[in-house]
């Protein structure tokens, strides 16, 4: 095993997952559609008044992003565990941590990143001013990275269990609460036109901590789940 070999293996994992995703576009599009539909329900179900929508926009955006990113988690490891791909990872000689980090990165590329890019559209419908978008986008980028990482731990832990769905949310949501709080706070500040560096630093701290520790925990969980 060598460092370049590791990088090549990780890149291969990313490519493979992206290729698989293009073959099953519905699976990729579902969480994004969910995100759009949930946020757009609020102008219809709550009030079309932009001033009122703007007040709840931070919470709506982040809760919808959290739930949407969780929708895509179920399939993160389960299919690969069933068809033996994860077994291959374990015996490949490459560190499982890195391979799972690559898988998580792909999950983010396919859900977190598109969610972030949809924010201007969805935010506009909720009355978010154009000037706030820069701040909201940076908060969403950092926040969705953390959500993918936390979700990877949850998805790994539920591999061994009979029923994934509800349990996955029970495990993942409490760990995701800080992301939700800091993300919504950053969005609130951005909409109000204030400096949002404070919550952005906190989102960054969560993301860095997640990148450091979550792949280790996910690897331990996947090993247990595969036995």
């Amino acid at each position: 095993m060598s460092a370049p070999g590791m990088v090549r293996a990780a890149a291969w994992v990313v490519q493979r997952d992206l290729r698989l995703a293009t073959r099953r576009p519905a699976q990729v599009l579902q969480p994004l559609a969910f995100f759009a539909v949930v946020t757009l329900l609020f102008p219809l179900g709550y009030t079309p008044e932009l001033a009122k929508l703007r007040a709840i926009a931070p919470g709506v955006l982040w809760v919808a992003a959290l739930l949407a990113s969780m929708l895509a988690l179920e399939s993160l490891f389960r299919e690969d565990a069933e068809d033996g791909t994860l077994e291959q990872f374990v015996v490949s000689g490459q560190p499982l941590t890195i391979l799972l980090l690559a898988k998580t990165a792909t999950h983010w590329l396919l859900t977190g990143l598109p969610l972030t890019l949809m924010a201007p559209l969805v935010g506009g419908a909720l009355g978010v001013p154009f000037a706030a978008l820069g701040g909201i986008l940076s908060a969403l980028v950092l926040g969705t990275i953390s959500l993918s990482l936390i979700g990877a731990v949850g998805a790994g832990l539920t591999l061994a269990s009979r029923r994934g769905g509800v349990l996955l949310s029970l495990l993942t949501l409490p760990l995701a609460v800080p992301v939700l709080i800091f993300g919504a706070r950053a969005t609130e500040l951005a909409i109000a036109g204030d400096s949002l560096t404070g919550p952005l630093y906190l989102l960054g701290a969560v993301a860095v901590l997640g990148i450091t520790l979550a792949p280790l925990a996910a690897a331990a969980a996947v090993r247990i789940g595969l036995e």
Partner: protein
């Protein structure tokens, strides 16, 4: 260094017997301390200059909050030991902790609400300290839910151990939230660097309660642990000697 003592703790029959012997040594002092502290806290301690008799809720709130956090620390430590040294008894300890921990987390939240309403003016604020304690409850529930959903005991042990370790990040947040943020929750009165901010006749019942609750948890843990070991070792030969 002699590691036999450590290996002894990996032996289920030894731990089963030891737990049986130790239980009364935890249970009786706990009962005496809690009863004494109850009298001291409700009768002997003077009312507070600001909160009057209402401050006496501290004698149930602080010990249960302490237990909620301490039990999680014990659980995560045991889970880590079980994971690293593949020690079945340690996993049994972790499994025995979760239920008690969840109970006392609920108690700390409820007693806190009952204290907050008359003093702060609200049952609940979304304050860092309170929110972190609520997350602690969800972590306990997640731990138990994960265990319950995995049929194979060994996998359930190790998967839940990973979760317990991941959840440890919540503990420093609970401990230091009142210092990091402008929390409405008071700073610690007893567990602080310099001396406690209480006169002796208020402090003594509180310390007795804290120690009493800790010993009480020790007794409950030992009983639960014995049940857990019995169920895990159902086919071992030592059980025959033990039960006949």
């Amino acid at each position: 260094m002699d590691w036999t003592w450590f290996h002894k703790f990996g032996s289920p029959p030894h731990v089963y017997r030891l737990a049986g012997v130790l239980t009364p040594w935890f249970a009786w002092p706990a009962a005496l301390l809690i009863l004494g502290a109850l009298y001291g806290g409700l009768v002997l301690a003077p009312p507070d200059y600001q909160q009057g008799d209402g401050f006496r809720i501290i004698y149930v709130h602080a010990p249960s909050a302490w237990l909620a956090v301490m039990i999680y620390a014990v659980m995560a430590t045991a889970a880590g030991v079980g994971l690293i040294w593949r020690m079945k008894v340690a996993h049994a300890v972790a499994a025995s902790c979760a239920g008690v921990g969840a109970w006392f987390t609920v108690v700390s939240l409820l007693t806190g609400m009952l204290w907050g309403k008359p003093m702060w003016g609200t049952y609940w604020v979304w304050d860092p300290r309170l929110t972190a304690q609520l997350i602690l409850l969800f972590l306990y529930l997640g731990f138990m839910g994960l265990r319950a959903s995995i049929d194979d005991l060994s996998r359930a042990d190790r998967a839940s151990a990973v979760l317990a370790l991941v959840g440890v990040v919540n503990l420093p947040i609970i401990r230091y939230s009142v210092e990091w943020w402008n929390s409405i929750h008071q700073a610690p009165s007893v567990m602080k660097m310099d001396r406690p901010s209480m006169p002796f006749d208020m402090l003594a019942p509180l310390l007795a309660m804290l120690l009493g609750f800790t010993l009480y948890f020790g007794a409950v843990l030992l009983i639960r642990l014995r049940a857990e070991i019995l169920r895990r070792e159902r086919n071992a030969s030592w059980i025959r000697e033990e039960l006949t």
